[in-house]
Structure formats: C-alpha cells, structure tokens
C-alpha cells in the first residue's frame, strides 16, 4: 500500500520527491525502494547498468508505469493518486492526462508521429490538450523550432529527418506543452556518434535556461558538465548520489566504482 502521508514537508519546493518507490513486473521486482529528491531548476543525471530500473523509474514519474508501493511526488502533486478524506483514490485517465501535460518526456527512440509533419507533431498537443489557438500554437512551434535549429524542417515528415534532427523535434514537441519538468530517457543512445552533439547542445541550452531535467544517460561528459547532481542506480535502488565532482572523483560504493571503471 501507499504510505498515507501526502503533504510531505516541503513538497512544493521540489520538482520530484520519491520515497521507497517499488515496482514489479510479475515476479521481477524492478524498483526496490527508490529514494530521490530533485529541486526545481536542477538537472539530475541518472546513471547505472542496463536493467537497473532507470527507465522504469522515469516512466513512473509520469505514470506510464504505476508504482506498487512508496510515495512519489512530482511537481508538488502525488503521481496518479488524489487524496481525499484520508484516503488515496486512483486518478481517472483524464486526471492522469492533465498531470502529464506538465511533464515533458523524450524517448530513446524519438517516437515522433510519422503521419504528421514536424510542425503538426509540435502543435498537436498544445491545440488538443492546452486548447491553444492554432495561430498561437504555430507561433510557439516556430519559435521552438528555431531554438532547436530546425526552422527549415517545419513541413518535413519525420522519416525524412536524421536521428539527431528527429530527437531535436521530439524535444521541441515536449517543450511546446511548457512543462515544469523534462524527463529524458537515453535521448542520444539511438544516435550515430556524430549526431549526439547536436542533441546534447539543445539539452545544455535548456539546462542553462533553468529547466528542471531528469536525464537517464550514458554520456558521462554531459553528466559531469551539465548535471547538478548525479544519481547512480543499480538493482532497483539509488546506490549513490551527489554532485558530479563528488561522485566521479570520490566514488564511495564498490558498485558505482565498478560501473564507472567500465564506461570511462
């Protein structure tokens, strides 16, 4: 069961508060009590070996996965549950949708809508969910396209773009909802090495503007340079966390050491 406390101390000041988050797929317990606190305006980079539950944890934050146990606050709200008269009620799908509208997500495989042009991809949710006027949404979209350096690709279909361009469109699409928090799940892992840079540049700019970001990544250079905190996950728990300089130069746990020695 979920712990009944919901108004955690200072829950408004932090973008994400996770306490003892557990999640199983059948018999496989993927998250075994994850604890994490991320403040607004911070960039948290999550590292860890494959299968350690990084993606699952990220997906829990916008309720693409439902947690079994523990407590997860995102943007000052309990994810997927509504508190009423001392009980937690599971949210209806449209309430979950409203909650997600404030959280942007960027996937490893881009997941652009292939039947829509770049511009249509970006304006779809602002018009359909935020009820922006079409003109307003298009203006926003063009501004975002300029920001990710793809002004001339507004009318192209996703399959005509390179991976790096597609991922930049995906970032623009998420930003169009004006999210308070951006989640990135290995945004550069599906890219050819020479395309990684252009995506990281966009993310770096975003961080510089003060966007709160949680980034699952294998790009240690990015984590070191842009991250305010680095979180090392293994076996479904947070094994170690701290500032990049702390974690990279003064690694405490054996598991994090072993992982870093392999990827460095």
């Amino acid at each position: 069961m979920l712990s009944s406390q919901s108004g955690a101390p200072g829950s408004q000041e932090f973008a994400v508060i996770a306490r003892g988050v557990e999640k199983s797929f059948g018999a496989l317990k993927v998250l075994q009590g994850v604890d994490l606190t991320v403040g607004y305006g911070k960039v948290a980079c999550i590292l860890g070996p494959s299968g350690s539950g990084k993606s699952t944890f990220l997906r829990c934050m916008n309720h693409l996965e439902r947690i079994d146990k523990g407590f997860l606050h995102v943007g000052g709200k309990l994810v997927g549950y509504r508190e009423h008269a001392g009980k937690l009620y599971e949210m209806r799908p449209n309430e979950v949708a409203r909650q997600r509208a404030d959280i942007g997500m960027v996937f490893q495989s881009f997941n652009l809508f292939p039947h829509m042009t770049v511009l249509q991809n970006i304006i779809e949710a602002p018009i359909g969910v935020k009820k922006l006027s079409k003109a307003e949404a298009i203006e926003d979209a063009r501004r975002l396209l300029a920001k990710v350096g793809l002004t001339d690709k507004a009318d192209a279909y996703p399959r005509t773009l390179s991976g790096g361009q597609q991922q930049r469109v995906a970032i623009a699409r998420a930003l169009a909802m004006r999210p308070k928090l951006m989640l990135f799940d290995e945004p550069t892992s599906a890219l050819d090495p020479e395309l990684v840079g252009e995506v990281l540049t966009v993310m770096r700019d975003l961080a510089a503007e003060g966007m709160t970001m949680i980034v699952v990544t294998h790009e240690l250079g990015f984590a070191r340079e842009v991250g305010d905190m680095v979180v090392f996950m293994d076996g479904g728990v947070v094994v170690e966390q701290g500032s990049p300089s702390e974690l990279f130069t003064n690694t405490k746990t054996g598991r994090a050491k072993a992982f870093l020695s392999k990827v460095l």
């Binding site: 949708a97 909650q99 959280i103 997941n111 949710a125 969910v129 005509t160 995906a170």
Partner: protein, 306 residues
C-alpha cells in the same frame, strides 16, 4: 581464398556495350495466352447463343437498375455497420477487461464460424423464434415491444445478416491495424497529456489506417458480390432482379451477363477509389520532400581498376 583480382588493362569494362538477358520463355507464354484469350473472346462475340442483343436490351432495364441501386445501398450500409461494429469489437478485444475481450472473441467465433447464408436465413426467420420482440432488461422492466414479423423485413434481415457478419471480419482487420502501431506512439501521445480518446483518434487510428484500408477495400468489393446472397431471402437486389426476369423469359445467360457487367463496373469504380484512398493515407511515406538520395557515383572516379 583471398586472392587479389587484377583486371587486365585491355579489359576496359566500362566502355563495353551491354546486352540485356532475353527472356524467351516469357515471350512464348505471353503469346500462347494471347491466342487462347483471343479465341475465347471471338467465340463469345460470334456465338449467337450469347445473345448480345438481349444483353443490350436489358442492360438499362428499369428493374435491373433498381436492383443495382438496392445492391449499392445494401453494400454501403452493410459495410458501414461492419466497420462501426468491427471497430467496436476490435477495441473490446484489446481492452484490459476480461469480460469485454471474451464477449468480443465469442462474437467472432459465432459469426465467423457459421455460413453467412445460414445467418441470413436465420435473421429472415427470426419472427418464428420470437414473434414478439421486447426491448428491456433481462428479468427487469420492458422498454417496449413490437411485432417481429413487421420489424424483420427482408431489408432488416439482409442488413443484419451482412452487417453482423462483416463486423466479425472487420474487427480482425481493425485489430491487426491497431496492433501494427508501435507502443511508443501511444506512450509519446500519453506523455503529452492527450486523453485516451484523442490518442486513439489522432495518433493510433490514422496510423492504423494504412494497414486497415487495403483489406477493407477487398472486403468492400467482396461485400458488393456477397449481397447477391440475399436473393435467397427474396430481396430485390441486382442478381434477384435478373433472376426474376429470366424465370419469366428463360434468357438465363444474357441476364446473368447483364448482372455481371454491372458487378464488374462497380468493382472497377471501387478499385479506383481504393487507389486514391490508399495514396492519401500513405502520404507521409512518399519522399517527395525528402533530402536528395545519395549521389550516383561518378563513373570516372570509380575504384574498379584499383
């Protein structure tokens, strides 16, 4: 076996004329078939027993045309019922509710597992089973009742029979279309805060359409001809109109030709329509606005002589 091949300098392959392979077998087969088809066509035209003058006489006969009209609306209406029902059944089948998936599977099992002809005759004779049809809750209050004999006309029986049967087949087509859309599409849409309805209507279905439309076109063309089955319950569609005429004047073959000409004309129109609809939904696949393909290698700089 790693051996470096050295082209002799005199072998300048690039300058030699190219002799394409000749497919003699294909040409012979084509010629034989043309002769056979030519013979058949001539025999059809010259054999007086085809009675082409009677075909011409009845092609625009009033009863034939009204039968044609009945065939057209029956096809469209049954197909519309089938598509709506099929989409509903498909959504039930992929739902997470066990009861809904079981009901949908049961529907498919029943309507796909019995001959359409039997279903048509069954609906036509429904009034024998239920002389009085009552709408209401099981064991609960009734919302009204009416006389089955008057309600189940040939039209209703034909629509029910064709539509419910088509629903079963369409549900499989719609389901395979929905399954063809990668889960990442749903997740990306949901992550943007779209409602379930919106995700389905704007993201999943339009992509599923590309898989759904070609077989649906086939179903539609199939339905056009399947409507001829309702002649057994005496509904006056195209075939039955032709039958009515030839039982009176014994010109069986010419009237069957008349009906066939109309069926062919309609399928032709539908096939052309299908082409345009498919093209519309395949829009994002055409690379008209794509970046140019890799340039063709300049032959003067080819590395072949290296």
């Amino acid at each position: 076996m790693t051996q470096v091949l050295n082209w002799p300098a005199s072998h300048d392959v690039e300058k030699m004329p190219v002799v394409p392979l000749k497919y003699y077998g294909r040409w012979i087969a084509a010629a034989v078939l043309l002769i056979v088809i030519g013979g058949l066509v001539t025999s059809m035209i010259t054999n007086p027993r085809f009675k082409w003058e009677i075909v011409a006489q009845y092609l625009f006969n009033e009863e034939i045309l009204s039968g044609l009209l009945a065939t057209i609306w029956l096809t469209l209406a049954a197909m519309a019922i089938g598509i709506v029902l099929g989409t509903g059944i498909a959504l039930m089948r992929i739902s997470e509710n066990r009861v809904l998936t079981s009901i949908a599977s049961g529907y498919l099992w029943l309507f796909r597992g019995t001959p359409l002809l039997v279903q048509l005759i069954f609906w036509y004779n429904l009034s024998a089973l239920y002389p009085q049809i009552t709408v209401g809750f099981p064991f609960g209050p009734s919302l009204g009742s009416f006389d089955a004999n008057r309600f189940i006309t040939v039209y209703v029986a034909a629509l029910l029979g064709l539509g419910l049967n088509e629903g079963a087949y369409m549900s499989e087509i719609v389901r395979s279309g929905l399954n063809s859309v990668p889960v990442g599409q749903r997740e990306a849409a949901e992550a943007l805060g779209m409602s379930r309805f919106r995700v389905m209507a704007r993201i999943i279905l339009p992509q599923a359409m590309r898989v759904i439309i070609p077989p649906t076109g086939n179903q539609l063309i199939g339905m056009l001809k399947t409507t001829s089955l309702v002649s057994v319950i005496a509904m006056q569609e195209l075939l039955y109109s032709a039958q009515l005429i030839y039982t009176a004047n014994f010109q069986t073959i010419p009237l069957l030709i008349v009906a066939s000409i109309w069926y062919l004309a309609l399928t032709t129109v539908l096939s052309i329509g299908q082409y345009f609809v498919e093209r519309h939904f395949g829009k994002s696949d055409r690379r008209s606005d794509a970046t140019p393909q890799a340039e063709v290698e300049d032959p003067n700089h080819s590395a072949r002589s290296a």
